[in-house]
């Protein structure tokens, strides 16, 4: 039975996810130790402990992300976060930094460790390294792998695997992208935000909306055209005399149609992105994937549930991302 892992940006969202059928939920603390460090999002230690109790009473697991890379000279903030996670009784901690892994292994050897997608572990050697050196039990796979590559990794891997199936798509290798800090001074790696809101500006002139990050124009929308948040890699740029979405169209990942394939490839869990998307979002997505996974368990097709989610996609369009090779 494939585990359904859903995002929780707040205690209310956590409850919505579990009630909609998530097997596990993942969340973070309200500071730079996790990769969704948006203002007003995430949990206080007290909210975390209460949510863990609530979820466990309903048979759902809570995974806590401490998945950014600690700042030099300020590692204590990350160590404190590890201590909070170990104390609150969460099922596992999701991390990427060798410093965090080393501290957890030393101070909390009983704490189950999952490797974040930010660690960019996409080869058998990388998986083996983290398993052998830090006792990592599960690895969240980079979104740039195909289903065949995932099958190759999951087969005989010393760890469980988890694959993203829905939500915002990261085009570049996660945890190794400095585009955001080049333009705006902060990136997901250390600050936990990509295209940070404080560097975003929207300016409207004559019905045309221009979105900018750190002063760099990222896209332009004519009167009434559906806009998008100025995430760097989703922008439109000029290269070789062409103006185009150079890196990726502003679309979202929806791999529901590939659930059967991922299941066969041996992944332990499927993950929904979107801690910042809210309760209504997670309730719908968790509900749809719950139905799809249950259908697969019964030997049925998951296809009928695909169209349940199309209108939630950014830019109104979806993709299966890298999972099918043609994307390269």
């Amino acid at each position: 039975m494939v585990e359904l892992v859903c995002p929780a940006g707040s205690p209310a969202m956590l409850r919505a996810a579990v009630e909609a059928g998530a097997d596990s939920v993942y969340c973070g603390l309200r500071d730079a130790t996790n990769a969704r460090n948006f203002p007003g999002l995430n949990f206080s230690p007290k909210e975390l402990a209460e949510s863990v109790e609530w979820a466990h009473a309903r048979g759902a697991k809570v995974l806590v992300a401490v998945n950014t890379f600690a700042r030099p000279g300020e590692i204590q903030l990350w160590r404190d976060a590890v201590d909070v996670v170990a104390d609150c009784g969460a099922y596992a901690m999701i991390c990427a930094d060798l410093a965090v892994l080393a501290y957890a292994r030393e101070r909390h050897p009983g704490l189950r460790l999952h490797l974040s997608v930010q660690a960019a572990a996409g080869t058998p050697e990388a998986l083996a390294f983290y398993a052998r050196e830090y006792g990592v039990k599960r690895v969240v796979l980079p979104r740039v792998l195909t289903v065949e590559e995932i099958r190759g990794l999951a087969d005989g891997a010393p760890v469980e695997t988890e694959a993203f199936v829905y939500g915002g798509l990261c085009v570049m290798a996660e945890g190794r992208c400095a585009l955001s800090s080049y333009a705006a001074g902060r990136s997901p790696n250390v600050a936990g935000v990509c295209s940070p809101p404080e560097a975003v500006t929207f300016s409207e002139e004559g019905g045309v909306l221009t979105t900018r990050l750190g002063g760099f124009a990222l896209d332009r929308f004519e009167d009434g055209a559906r806009a998008g948040y100025p995430t760097l890699c989703k922008g439109r740029f000029r290269a070789a005399d062409e103006l185009a979405y150079l890196f990726e169209d502003p679309v979202s990942l929806n791999a529901m149609g590939l659930l059967a394939g991922l299941r066969e490839a041996g992944v332990t869990a499927v993950k929904v992105e979107g801690r910042q998307r809210g309760k209504a979002y997670v309730a719908r997505v968790a509900g749809a994937f719950r139905k799809a996974l249950d259908a697969l368990e019964r030997g049925e097709d998951a296809a009928p549930y695909e169209r349940l989610l199309t209108d939630l996609a950014e830019g109104g369009r979806e993709t299966t991302g890298a999972y099918k090779r043609g994307w390269r």
Partner: protein, 184 residues
């Protein structure tokens, strides 16, 4: 004016502090609505400190909510026990951190979560200018709070009638001032 220790960027068509420059005729009608809304905001701060904790630095921000159909704008200063709401003519709103504009029905639906904020923004039904981080904080705080409109006006019975009367009067004045504005 609440203090501004974090130096939130303020922008707007007019510089200087935000006075109450409603035309003398309308001022007595707006005042009760302001009192009611400010009182409600402070009550919320007392009952739900977690919501205000989530706001973080955005507590000292100034949000300007400008319904399309209305000659008025709502200036929200969420600063906890000093929270207040001012009602101002849209041309004279003073500096603000973030400006949110849209049809009133959409703005109200945003508040109680029946309209998805990302969807509304991307579909350009709601337009945002200014400090996005402050707005993100407000949005996330409200999202996590599971509030409803009734939370904003959980008034004792004694105040409910005058509040409703003030609101109805405001709407009538608005209709008189802008007869072609359409339903509020």
């Amino acid at each position: 004016m609440p203090s501004n220790p974090r130096g939130w960027r303020r922008s707007g068509p007019s510089a200087g502090p935000a006075p109450n420059p409603l035309p003398r005729l309308l001022a007595p009608l707006a005042a009760p609505a302001e009192i009611v809304l400010s009182h409600a905001a402070r009550r919320l701060a007392r009952r739900r400190p977690d919501v205000f904790e989530r706001l973080g630095e955005a507590r000292t921000a100034v949000f300007l909510i400008v319904p399309d159909e209305s000659p008025f704008a709502f200036r929200l200063e969420p600063d906890g026990p000093r929270a207040r709401v001012l009602i101002l003519p849209r041309e004279r709103t003073g500096l603000c951190t973030t400006r949110i504009a849209g049809r009133l029905a959409d703005l109200l639906a945003l508040f109680d979560g029946s309209l998805d904020a990302d969807a509304a923004f991307f579909a350009r039904r709601v337009r945002v200018e200014g400090d996005t981080a402050a707005l993100t904080a407000l949005h996330n705080a409200l999202e996590a709070a599971e509030l409803e409109l009734v939370d904003l006006a959980p008034l004792p019975e004694a105040l409910r009638r005058p509040a409703l009367a003030a609101w109805r009067t405001l709407k009538r004045v608005h209709a008189a001032v802008r007869p072609a504005a359409g339903a509020v």
